[in-house]
């Protein structure tokens, strides 16, 4: 059974290698979709295997932990792998129909490498492997960001590369310091050895370095400025993949380390995370209100949503961690969908600037309706997945006595609604400005099945989760309990 742990890494690796060799557009499309579908399938197998509350552990090459490389899956990691695979599949479908991305030399293989890096990061059982998988993910994202090579993209990529390199440098420094202190990098072994060695300067320094490193990668306040510069510039399919996957891997790493390894001084570390989360939510949502381009608004909103996720980590109860999981699944689905809808709008009108859009509701009621569902879900209106996700996060805040944080989360939800209504009024509802009416735009192309299918599937998921949240809530509750059970993780990996 534990052999499945290698699948989310090996499948995209094989697909990427084949995609480099294959030239024909059609074959590349089939390969890319098959790879992503298999990735998603292997994620679902892992979810099924971990659903009972156990861990899967694979000692690569037969070298037992803590000496060898261990791949570890718990329910949280398995859910993340499955959702990432699903998003990879749907974005792949979208890419079939647009921008000639499937014929591009680098997009199809590197999208697979991105999935491989994410899969590896979710399943890594030691700190150094986490670093390596992060680098795989980042190098793929560096190149994907520059697909098309427009000047704005290159400018955004310079910032992205520089700040991410700095984050990786901090990450590596923390690896070196922790190894010097404890003589191990295996997460379970670290978790076991650090408490015997009370929060000394070295441990606290490493924890701070890792918090900053993943704070940068997750776009936490005050490290988020690279995100609005980078995300809106590449082709829409790349933006959508980044919006769904990239920052979430940073959030995942934060949660993994600050539930398993650094829990000696919760009063300080997790209180700091709580404060940063609240600041992230507020600055993100206020920053978004000032933007004019569709993808810029949505990109700055990602920052605000990241705040909700780390908020649950800061609150530090099993219910709050379960809420984080629900929120992450909801946000990955809805955010990707909104970016894909923006891509559809861009195809219809040739622009994504609010000032030059308008009248979409009259001409394309179907697409407008789908946008409205996702936008209202993002803002947290019932009966959509966003309502469920926000409800569990805010309830966990109140139950743990963090009244202020809960109130801020409620207020930020209202401001999100404001931004979404602004997009709705400007792009969909108002009369179209002169010259932007149908047919007059520079690049009007009809929407085909490759656009409709992913948007419809993702919208269906957000509605389904909203109407029937029980299965997801129950799964998340189990995953949250599992995250709090450090002894269980250590036992599963080290076999004691």
């Amino acid at each position: 059974m534990s052999g499945w742990l290698a699948a989310p890494i090996l499948i995209p690796l094989a697909a990427a290698a084949l995609l480099v060799l294959v030239r024909g557009r059609r074959w590349r499309g089939i390969l890319a979709l098959a790879g992503a579908a298999a990735h998603c399938g292997s994620g679902l197998v892992l979810v099924a295997a971990c659903a009972g509350g156990g861990h899967l552990v694979l000692a690569v090459g037969g070298w037992p932990a803590p000496y060898g490389i261990a791949l570890v899956a718990d329910l949280f990691a398995a859910i993340m792998v499955a959702v990432t695979g699903l998003l990879g599949l749907l974005v792949g479908v979208y890419a079939l129909g647009t921008d000639d991305l499937m014929a591009d030399a680098v997009f199809p293989p590197l999208a697979q490498v991105l999935l491989m890096g994410a899969g590896g990061a979710f399943l890594a059982g030691d700190l150094f492997n986490l670093y390596v998988w992060f680098e795989v993910l980042l190098i793929a994202s560096f190149v994907l960001l520059t697909v098309g090579r427009r000047p704005a993209q290159l400018a955004g990529a310079v910032k992205y590369v520089a700040i991410n390199f700095l984050a990786s440098a901090m990450f590596l420094t923390a690896c070196g310091l922790l190894y010097g202190k404890t003589g191990t990098l295996n997460l379970a072994d670290l978790a076991r050895k650090i408490p015997a060695d009370p929060a000394t300067g070295v441990v606290l320094t490493s924890a701070s370095l890792l918090l900053a490193a993943f704070g940068i990668k997750a776009a936490l306040f005050p490290f988020f400025n690279w995100l609005p510069a980078a995300y809106p510039t590449p082709p829409v399919a790349v933006s959508a993949l980044f919006a769904g996957v990239l920052t979430k891997v940073g959030v995942y790493a934060l949660i993994r380390l600050f539930t398993l390894v650094f829990v000696q001084d919760v009063g300080r570390t997790h209180a700091l995370i709580l404060v940063l989360s609240v600041a992230t939510m507020i600055t993100g949502v206020l920053g978004a209100a000032a933007q004019g381009g569709l993808r810029r608004i949505l990109a700055v909103h990602i920052v605000s949503q990241i705040g909700y996720m780390t908020l649950g980590l800061g609150v530090w109860t099993p219910a709050a961690l379960a809420a984080v999981m629900v929120y992450m699944v909801h946000n990955m689905v809805v955010k990707t969908n909104l970016f894909l809808v923006v891509g559809a709008v861009k195809r219809l009108r040739g622009t994504e600037e609010l000032a030059r859009l308008g009248g979409l509701w009259r001409e394309h009621p179907g697409l407008s309706g789908l946008f409205l569902v996702s936008a209202l879900s993002l803002a947290g209106l019932p009966p959509l997945s966003g309502f469920v996700a926000k409800f569990v996060v805010i309830r966990a805040c109140f139950l743990a006595g963090h009244w202020l944080a809960g109130a801020v989360a409620l207020g930020v939800g209202l401001l999100t609604l404001f931004s979404m209504v602004k997009i709705w009024l400007e792009a969909f509802w108002k009369e179209s400005p002169d010259g932007a009416a149908a047919g007059a735009g520079p690049a009007v192309r009809p929407l085909g099945a490759p656009v409709w299918v992913p948007v419809l599937v993702l919208t269906a998921i957000t509605v389904a989760v909203g109407l029937y949240p029980e299965p997801l809530l129950e799964l998340a509750q189990r995953a949250g309990d599992q995250l709090m059970d450090r002894a269980g993780y250590i036992r599963a990996v080290l076999g004691e």
Binding site: F128, V132, E135, I139, F142, V143, T146, R149, R150, P151, A152, L154, A155, G156, A157, V158, K159, V161, A162, F165, L166, S168, A169, L172, T173, C175, G176, L177, Y179, G180, K181, A229, P232, T233, G293, R296
Partner: protein
């Protein structure tokens, strides 16, 4: 020896941070390269320096003879060097292309050329 290494690491990091904060693209790349090397040295030093022996099991023996250095940091640093090399190479190409596409030599002016 640790003291000498600490001073070298500190100096390299200081120079790297100074270069990263400059506005010239070339200095940004140099800063990236130097910071990567400073951290590689840090991993070596933090894991313990030792001048004696090699971490290879002698023929016929079941385990390493006692005075030997820890082989793991060497493997870590090797991996980090490869990754650092890749990132430096990519950053060079990216900045060169950026310069060609936008004509910017001052990174502070990059914002104005943006979307």
């Amino acid at each position: 020896m640790e003291l000498v290494m600490a001073v070298i690491i500190g100096a390299l990091t200081g120079v790297a941070v100074y270069l990263l904060l400059r506005r010239s693209p070339v200095r940004l790349v140099l800063g990236i390269a130097l910071l990567g090397n400073a951290i590689n040295l840090l991993i070596f030093t933090a894991a313990g320096l030792s001048a004696r022996g090699v971490p290879i099991v002698a023929e016929g023996a079941a385990a390493l003879a006692p005075p030997h250095p820890d082989p793991l940091p060497q493997a870590l640093v090797l991996t980090a060097i490869v990754i650092g090399f890749g990132i430096t190479a990519f950053a060079l190409v990216l900045l060169w292309r950026m310069h060609h596409a936008t004509g910017v030599e001052d990174l502070d002016r990059l914002e104005e050329e943006g979307p």
